[in-house]
Each structure stands twice: as C-alpha cells, then as structure tokens.
C-alpha cells in the first residue's frame, strides 16, 4: 500500500499550490449569510429549550400547587378554617362524613380501584385480542375499519359517554335486572369506562404485535403449530412487556376519568355500608349496581360546594394530589416494563 504524497501525485502540483492562508476570499455579496440569520441560528435553540423546560416546569408546578393545597389539611396553617387532620384519619379510614368531621377517603380510593379494576378486566383481554386481530389476522379492509372505529371511540367526549350511560344503559339495566329500581354504580361505570379505554389498549397492543419480528411468527408456524397456537404461546408472551404498558396506560386513563363516571355511578360515598346491606339481602347482581363514588367523582361533585380552607376542601385537593401521584407512579412503571423489554 502506498499513500505518500510524492508517489501518489505525478503532476507538478507544488509549483501551483497556493500559500497557506488564514481565511478564504470573501463570498460574493449576494451569497453572504446575513448577520441576522447567524444570530438567529446561534440563539434560537434557547427558545426551543425554553418550551421544553416549560413542560418540565408544569410537571413541577402542578405538583407544587396541588401539594400546597392538599397537604394544607395536615398542617396548622393560618388559612385553614377547621382543625388539622392526621394522615391516618384521612388515608386509613373508611369513615367519610364531612358534616360530622370524618374525612376518611378510603371509600373513594376503593371505589376508584374497583371501577378501574372492573373496567380493565373487561378492556384488557378484549383490547389485547383486538390488537392481535388487527395486527395478525384481520384482512386489510377490516384492519382499516377497526382503526377508524377505535379513532372514533377515543374521540367521543366523556360527557357524551356519560349521557349515553345515563339515558340508555341505566334505564335498560333498571328495567331488565332491577325490577325498575333506579340503577347506577360500579358495573355500569366500568362498562362505559372499558369502552373509553379500549382504544388506548388496542392501539398500543397493535403496535406491540406489529413490532414483533416476523421470524417469531413464522418460526412457530413452521413447527406446525396453528395460527392461534402461535399467537397464544409465542406472540402474546413475546409482546408481554408492551402489552403491560398498554394496560397500565389504559388503567391511568380509567382512574383519571371523571365526568362520564360521575354521571352514572350514583355518587354515594357511603357505598360500603349500602353494598353490605345489598349482599346480606342476597342478590349479588344488586351489589354490582350499588351507587358508589370514586376519587374523581367526589371531586367533581363536591369541590364547588366546599369553602376554601376548610378541612373538607383541603382533603378534596389531597385526593387530587393522590391522583397525580398515582399517574406519576404508573408512568414510571411503564418505563420499568420498557427496560425489561430491552434486557
């Protein structure tokens, strides 16, 4: 190999070579980049950075203001009008009776978890299976039809879901199961919620299955397994981390949904006692339609009715803070699944 300058170039270049210079001859005036553009280019990224930092600041700001109001319940602040509460009597008590000075929020937390859990129980399997269907089995016309259906389902406003539940499902349930007694409660909220969160799960699950290497699918079918066996034994396990993420994000949507649930759930903070009564009198079905309440519905229901600075009002903000912290935990959880996937 030969790369010395003498042998690589025969032409008498040295004679014609220009002396080394510090700068080039200036560009012709019509092709000179203006000072404005140079300065703009140098500093513009700060504008973009500021926009991103604003988002970070918002995350922190929301936490700060919610904590300031939510934690006020537990601190002897001058703005408070009632007594200072303890963490235990708020977070570990099922006794909610603000008028008689009891502020246990477990009924709402329990209500939220029950409704969300039920909704996920309905939405996760159907959503994941629909994801498989769209990604692996459906003919292309069906695929695009399903995409449009999901786009529409996710776009329908929550109050419209609420009014549908209120004017169509509630009377229907009341008529067919409850001998025309008024219906409301967990089961109906969960049904509506499941339809609301299913598009999230379907779209993430579809992405998860489409992201799998084709070889997985082909490999297991080459071994003679049926399409379904390939899906059940190979594809679903392989996509598990991302399916989990899909479910967690669906869960996040469900737990934070306020209006639709508020319109159909019945808004009864004393649902635990009522449900006990129903189950004692036997019909399990009736218990499913116990009017209940969740963190979000109680906020919507009572926030406009409570004076600022009262323990009641402060506890409502503490419930908001709890919802926000739950969101953060769920998002961090999806990050963990993501990491497992890489490993």
């Amino acid at each position: 190999m030969n790369d010395s300058p003498e042998s690589s170039l025969v032409a008498p270049a040295l004679l014609l070579e220009l002396p080394a210079a510090d700068r080039l001859a200036p560009a012709p005036p019509e092709f000179r980049q203006s000072r404005f553009h140079r300065l703009a280019d140098r500093w513009s990224h700060l504008v973009f950075l500021a926009c991103s930092l604003l988002v970070v600041a918002l995350i922190g700001g929301i936490l700060f203001f919610l904590a300031a109001r939510g934690l006020a319940a537990f601190l002897p602040l001058t703005g408070n009008t009632g007594r200072t509460l303890s963490f235990a009597e708020v977070f570990l008590s099922t006794d909610w009776a603000p008028s008689s000075d009891h502020f246990g929020i477990l009924p709402f937390l329990g209500g939220s978890l029950a409704v969300t859990g039920l909704a996920l129980l309905l939405a996760a399997p159907t959503g994941i299976l629909t994801g498989v269907f769209i990604a692996k089995l459906a003919p292309s016309w069906m695929r695009s039809l399903m995409r449009q259906v999901m786009d529409l389902l996710v776009g329908i406003p929550s109050v419209v879901y609420g009014i549908f539940g209120l004017t169509i499902i509630l009377p229907l349930v009341s008529h067919s199961f409850l001998k025309d007694a008024p219906a409301s409660g967990f089961a109906i909220s969960a049904m509506i919620l499941s339809v609301m969160i299913v598009p999230t799960i379907v779209s993430l699950a579809t992405d998860a299955f489409e992201g799998l290497p084709l070889s997985l699918d082909e490999g297991s079918q080459a071994l003679g397994s049926s399409r379904w066996q390939a899906i059940w034994h190979v594809l679903i396990p392989a996509a598990r981390p991302r399916l989990l993420t899909a479910c967690v994000l669906g869960l996040g949507r469900a737990i934070g949904e306020a209006m639709a649930v508020q319109m159909v759930i019945g808004n009864n903070p004393q649902w635990i006692a009522l449900m006990r009564e129903f189950t004692d009198r036997a019909p399990f079905l009736r218990a499913l339609f116990t009017p209940a309440a969740t963190l979000t519905t109680e906020l919507v229901q009572e926030l406009p009715n409570t004076p600022t600075g009262s323990p009641w009002n402060n506890v409502l903000f503490a419930m908001g803070l709890l919802l926000y912290l739950l969101t953060m935990v769920l998002i961090l959880a999806t990050r963990r699944f993501g990491r497992n996937e890489v490993a």
Partner: protein, 292 residues
C-alpha cells in the same frame, strides 16, 4: 418448546384455532356494533331537538325551549384560544426534542415529562388551573382561566406529534438544505417543518377534537355560565362550552327540558366529532399520497 407440547392432538388444535379466530372476529365486530349503537342512539335521541332555532337561541335558565348558541361560540372560542396558546409551545418543545436534544438522558427526561403531562387526568389539570388562575390570580371562572388550563391538555399532544412528524423528515432533504449553506434554523423552518406540516396539522385537528370534548377542566376554570351578550369576546367572562352545558343541565336539573337539551347537545358534539375525523382521514390520505 411449549408450542409443540400442545400439539398432541392436531385435530383438536385445529378446532381450537377455528374457534378462537371466530372469537376474535366476534370481539372486533362487537366493538363496531358498540360504536354503531352508540352513535346511532345519540343521533336518534338528538335528532328531534336539532332544529335551527336550537342552535341559534340563547339558553333558558328555568323554562323550556332554550338554545345553545353561546355554548357553540364558547366551545369554538376556547378551542381556538387554547390551540393558539399551546401551538407555539408544543411546536417549540417538539422541535427541541426532535432536532436539538440529542439521544441521551436529556431527551429521555423530557420525554418522561411529556408522557406524564399527557397522562395527567384532566380533573388534576382542572384543580391546578383552579388554584392558579381562578383563585391565586383572581381571574375567577373565565374564558382566560379556561383557555390557559385547556392549553395544558393540548401541549403534550402537540409536542409529541411535532416530534414524531419531524423525525419522519427524510435525512436527504435536510442534507440538501445544509449543503446549500442553510443554517440549522433555516433548515428546520424552511425544510423540516413544511415537510412535517401535514402530520402536525393532523395532530392539531385531533387535539382540537379533544379540547372540544373536554369538560372536567372547564367546569372548574371556565365555569357553568355564559355571558348574556352574544358574541362576547371578552376573556374575563365565564364561558360554558357545549360539553360543560351537556353535563350541567343533566346534573343540575332545574330545566324542564334538560333531557332534550342534553340529547341535542350530544348529537351536535357527535356530528362535530365525525366531521373532525373525516378531515383527519382526508389529511392522512394527503400525507400518504405525497410519500408515495
């Protein structure tokens, strides 16, 4: 391999396969049915109410026969204001993440924040807006409180869609621009963003749809009343939107024809949603035609 273990009886496997395919079809068709029943029922209920004077009359507070004219105006006004507030910020943040943040921890952290904001329940944003705008700044229930809080809902969506659309700009186009002596800013403004514009526009339409349907935020920031003047462009007056109106008339119960008004309002919202979805489909097709 587990797949082999289940193969003991091939004919049984075949039956299971057939059965499960059937189940998947049923589930998928079930969702289509749910949507059809849903949209059908809402439109069916609302149709008798949907007369022109329903759309063009002022609402009543105690008597029947009120319209939804100011709510329609407020919905559009608030959506436009909130988009105007969130678009520059979302665009800026999206540009930063796609073009400047690199690929390391910074980007990851910003993404985490965007995801968190996107997943934050709207009732939590409502509380934030209520504390900051309604109470601390003393703006009470007003268009400006509502628009600013609603913008918080839009920002993460616009950021994400900007980032994704910019990522899809072909490298060759950027190189061509740099190769002609463009600065990075010129390349972003003159090549990357115009190329990404259709994608961003699609995202904007979807964001508008979401903001249009949002109610929890606005109940606590824009309020449940409307100005007596029409059209009232002042930012300091309360601005009840269609979605808030729909919720309020059903939960308040002072109106004798609350049911009809709710049904009509829901039908209007569904129609708007269908129109927005159609325009998204149209934009999508435009994008696909260009990439081909």
């Amino acid at each position: 391999m587990r797949a082999i273990a289940t193969l003991r009886s091939p004919s049984r496997a075949k039956h299971v396969d057939k059965f499960m395919r059937g189940v998947l079809w049923v589930i998928a068709l079930g969702f289509i049915l749910v949507l059809a029943v849903f949209v059908g029922a809402i439109l069916h209920q609302g149709w008798p109410v949907l007369r022109l004077d329903f759309l063009t009359r002022m609402p009543e507070t105690l008597e029947a026969g009120g319209g939804i004219k100011p709510q329609i105006f407020n919905s559009i006004y608030l959506v436009l204001l909130s988009l105007g507030l969130s678009l520059p910020i979302g665009l800026g943040a999206g540009v930063y993440m796609a073009e400047y943040a690199g690929k390391g921890r910074t980007l990851n952290f910003f993404r985490l924040c965007i995801e968190t904001l996107a997943a934050t329940p709207s009732i939590v944003l409502a509380l934030f807006g209520m504390i900051v705008f309604v109470q601390t700044l003393g703006w009470s229930f007003s268009i400006r409180s509502g628009a600013l809080t609603l913008a918080l809902l839009n920002i993460p969506v616009i950021t994400r869609v900007t980032e994704v659309s910019l990522m899809s700009v072909p490298r060759e186009l950027k190189e061509a621009s740099y190769g002609l002596g463009a600065t990075k800013l010129q390349t972003i403004l003159k090549v990357a963003l115009p190329y990404a514009a259709t994608g961003i526009l699609t995202g904007l339409v979807l964001t508008a749809g979401r903001a249009f349907g949002e109610s929890a935020i606005l109940v606590f920031t824009a309020g449940t009343n409307t100005s007596a003047i029409f059209p009232d462009f002042r930012l300091t007056v309360p601005g009840e939107t269609l979605s808030v109106h729909l919720w309020y008339v059903t939960s308040d119960g002072t109106l004798p024809d609350a049911r009809e008004i709710a049904a009509g309002t829901a039908a209007v919202m569904i129609l708007v949603l269908l129109i927005l979805n159609l325009s998204v489909r149209f934009l999508d097709r435009a994008i696909r035609r260009r990439t081909r």
